[in-house]
Structure formats: C-alpha cells, structure tokens
C-alpha cells in the first residue's frame, strides 16, 4: 500500500516537483492496479484542495488550469495500469458542450477537467452544438447529467431549446441539466427549464456529485 497523503498535499500545493517525484517513485516498483487507484485517488483529493482554494479566492484560473495539466499527465501515466477506457470505476456519465450560437470553451474545458478529476466519465461534444446533438449524445451514452455552457445572451434561448430537445427525446426525467457560464443566473436557469446552474467549475462539480449520491441511494 502506498502512502498517498503527501501526494495529496503536494497536488493541493501545486508543487510540481514533489508531485512528479512521488508519481515516479510510486510507478518505479512494479505497481499493482490497486496502487495505481490509490495514486489516482490521492490526485483527486489534491484536486479537491485546489478547488476549495479556488472557491476561497486563494487560487486563480491559472492555478486550476495548471492543476488540470498535472492531473491529465498522471492519468496518462496511470492508464496502462488502470486499464480503463470506459465507464468502469466512474460515478456518472456527463454530456458536456457549448450551446448553439456560442463558441466559448474555456469554462467548459475547465469544468470537464474538474469532473474527470472527480471520477465522472465526460463526453465533450464541443462548441456551437445544436439541441439535437446534446439529445442524441445523451441518449447514446445514457447520460446522467447534461452540462450546457454559454456566455452570450443568445446562448440563453439555445439552452432552453436544448432542454426542450431532451424532453422531445423522452429523456428529460432521466437526466439532470446543469447550466454554466458567466451569463447564467437563477432566473435564466428557471427560464431554460434546467435543474441547477453555477458560474464556478468546482461548485458545479459538487452539485453533480450530490445528484449522483441521491441517485444511488
């Protein structure tokens, strides 16, 4: 069993040198799948620290992006050991995209990284995606959650149309819909017929986690 507390702290501190040293050390002596899972869990716990500090205003967007890059590099190295490509070990399936008429992606990509760090399986369908693309992907991948991103005023109607498309596909009651982006507010959430909203990637992940907890209960 690998001692992972220090790794968690190093990730939380964004101490790249220590993080990499720990990762390399843990991979040096023919690690088992269980070891790899413990390392990944430590990264995830470290990402939680990063998210909390971001919420407190101690960390900034650049810190989140950097943390995401540390996490992505670790997943890349651990992949052969973990042997996952599909949903196994994941807590939920999220379809994510920027709605039709909007092409912004920074927030969406950040949210994706944070979701993956929290063990979600994320299908990112991209920017400027029509309502049908969201509905089709949600049906095909049996989504638990659909995340709609946008920051133009024109994105608001697209968000509403996308929720309508989920209804038309007969899956609205099976999925939770979360809105993200600097345009969204409680009023827009109601207008679009979504379940919740957030302008903060980490807070949004918390909401998704709560949904999955309620679902499995």
């Amino acid at each position: 069993m690998i001692e992972t507390e220090n790794l968690k702290i190093a990730v939380g501190e964004l101490d790249e040198e220590r993080v990499n040293a720990f990762l390399d050390a843990s991979l040096a002596f023919s690690p088992t799948e269980e070891d790899a899972r413990a390392v990944l869990a430590a990264y995830q716990a470290g990402m939680d620290i990063v998210g909390e500090r971001f919420e407190q205003g101690r960390y900034f967007v650049g810190d989140l992006v950097f943390a995401g890059s540390l996490f992505a590099a670790a997943v890349e190295k651990l992949k052969p050991l973990l042997g996952f490509s599909g949903g196994e070990g994941r807590i939920g399936m999220v379809i994510l995209g920027t709605v039709e008429g909007d092409i912004h992606f920074i927030g969406k990509n950040l949210f994706k990284t944070m979701l993956e760090a929290a063990s979600f399986h994320v299908i990112d369908i991209g920017i400027d995606q029509p309502p049908k693309a969201f509905a089709d992907a949600a049906v095909r991948y049996q989504a638990d959650i659909v995340g709609l991103s946008g920051l133009l005023t024109t994105a608001v109607d697209s968000m509403r149309d996308t929720v309508e498309a989920l209804k038309a596909a007969g899956i609205r009651r099976k999925v939770k819909v979360i809105l993200g982006g600097s345009i969204v507010t409680e009023a827009i959430c109601t207008y679009a017929g979504a379940d919740d909203w957030s302008r903060n990637a980490y807070e949004g992940v918390g909401k998704c986690r709560n949904w999955m907890r309620a679902k499995t209960r």
């Binding site: 967007v61 992606f105 920074i106 133009l152 005023t153 024109t154 608001v156």
Partner: protein, 269 residues
C-alpha cells in the same frame, strides 16, 4: 486612439444592478464620466435575458442619448436585436459586431451600406474562436472583402482579433500582436480594436495585466480599445504609450492631459 467606453454593459455586475433597479441616475453618471474622460463611443450592451434584451437596450439608449452626445456603440450578439435598435440612435455610431458566423454579414452589411455607421469585425467564425494568427488574418481578409462588396471602406471597419485569456493561453498577447501585424500590413486603413480586459480574466490584480497589454498591443498597431476611460491607470498608459510611439507631436497631448488633470498623481482629497 479611438476609445470605446465599456461601462454601460449588463455583463458588469454594478451596471446589471442599475439595470435591474431601473437606476437611471447611475447610467447617466457613467455616460457622462466616460465622455468627460475621452470616450469616442459609448458601448451599450444589455447583457440580460433574451426576452428583455430589446427593452433593456432601448431603455439604456434613451437615457444615454438624453445625457450626452457621444456616438453609441450598439452591442449585442443577436443580429436581429442590433437591427431593431439601429433606428433608435440619433446619429450613426459603431455596431458591435459582425463576424464570420453564418448570416451575420449578410444581415448587417446591407443595412449600413450608404450610411456612415462603422462596424466592429470579430475574427471568429462558425468553427469557433481562433488562436492561430494566420487563421485570424484570413477571416479578417474574407470579412474586409465582404464589406467592400457593400461599398464599406476599410476606414469604417474596427477589426477585433479577439484576445484570448492569458490564464489559459500562455502566448495570448504574442498571438494577438502577430494577428494585428498581419492585418495592418495587408490592410493599413482598417482600425484594430480589442475588448482587452478579457486578457486578465481569472487573474488577481488585473490592472497590471490590462495596462501592459494596452501598451504592448498599441506598439503592434492596435489603434482603438474597448476599455474604461475613467480608470486613471488605463488613461495614463494610453497617453504615455501614444507619446512613446511617436503619435503625439511635441508630447502635447500628454502635457495637455497632465495640465487638465486627466493624468498625473492621484490628488489628495
């Protein structure tokens, strides 16, 4: 430099609050102060939900035009909203914006043909926000050519090469400046503008980044900015950079701005 005052925008929390509370006084204040500090245009953007965007814009436009004579920069990502509010303007100003997204040019350009309206041109298209300067340039080329089809001269175009966020793209300024240089080399008469505060999104102490971006981008050929002219730091950077770049004969603009109290050390209360 052509200054487009950015403050009358519902995406700014304080302005949104004024819109929601129908606080006419605040809107008049920021229209007046931005004009006094040298805004050539006043950006007017509702930033509210679509079903009330038209009404909000109309409300803002009426108040601003009742307060100052500064031309407006009408700002909406919805072409139909823009078309609806153009007739409300007392005189031609700036439309914000067209881009390579399907249908935008076709809707706006014929309407401003034969008028003196100017237009902001974003270097993005259906495939998204571009980061490659060469792609930005080629989108700009296409859009300049389209404008010409409607007899809209290069002088009427304000090309915005869309600055990306430094926190997520390390070469954001370098790529922006490269696009500016390419566009200016090919089309010296167009204006280059930027909603520059996007550069510092998600960073602390944003004004350090914003002021230095302004100076560096101006040195690459940017000759307009969508910014807050009431910010003393931005103003000082503007006058100092213009003088340093040799655009200010005998540094008279800088000196006059200093004498008039537009720039200089903060006065004690």
């Amino acid at each position: 430099m052509i200054i487009i005052g950015e403050k009358i925008n519902g995406f700014i929390p304080r302005t949104l609050q004024a819109i929601e509370e129908k606080d006419e006084k605040y809107i008049r204040e920021i229209a007046k102060s931005q004009t006094e500090y040298g805004a050539d245009y006043l950006d007017v953007c509702a930033g509210t939900a679509p079903e009330i965007e038209r009404d909000t814009l109309k409300w803002l436009i009426d108040i601003v035009q009742d307060t100052v004579d500064t031309p407006l920069c009408l700002d909406s990502s919805d072409v139909n909203v823009l078309l609806d509010v153009i007739p409300l303007a007392k005189k031609p100003g700036l439309l914000n914006s067209i881009s390579g997204e399907t249908g935008k040019c076709e809707a706006i350009l014929p309407v401003i043909q034969g008028t003196t309206w100017n237009v902001v041109v974003l270097t993005c298209d259906q495939t998204g926000i571009q980061t490659d300067p060469k792609v930005k340039f080629s989108i700009a080329e296409t859009l300049i050519a389209k404008a010409e089809e409607y007899d809209i001269a290069q002088e009427r175009l304000f090309i915005d090469p869309l600055v990306t966020t430094l926190a997520t793209q390390q070469d954001s300024l370098l790529s922006f400046n490269e696009a500016v240089r390419l566009i200016k080399a090919g089309y010296p008469k167009v204006h280059i503008t930027s909603g520059l505060s996007n550069i510092s999104f998600g960073m602390p102490f944003r004004k350090a980044i914003n002021t230095q971006f302004l100076a560096l981008a101006m040195s690459a050929g940017m000759d307009s900015a969508i910014m807050d002219p009431t910010s003393a730091d931005m103003r000082a950077t503007l006058y100092a950079t213009d003088a340093l770049l040799g655009n200010d004969e005998y540094t008279m603009n800088y000196l006059t701005a200093f004498r008039n109290g537009l720039i200089g050390p903060a006065k004690k209360a």
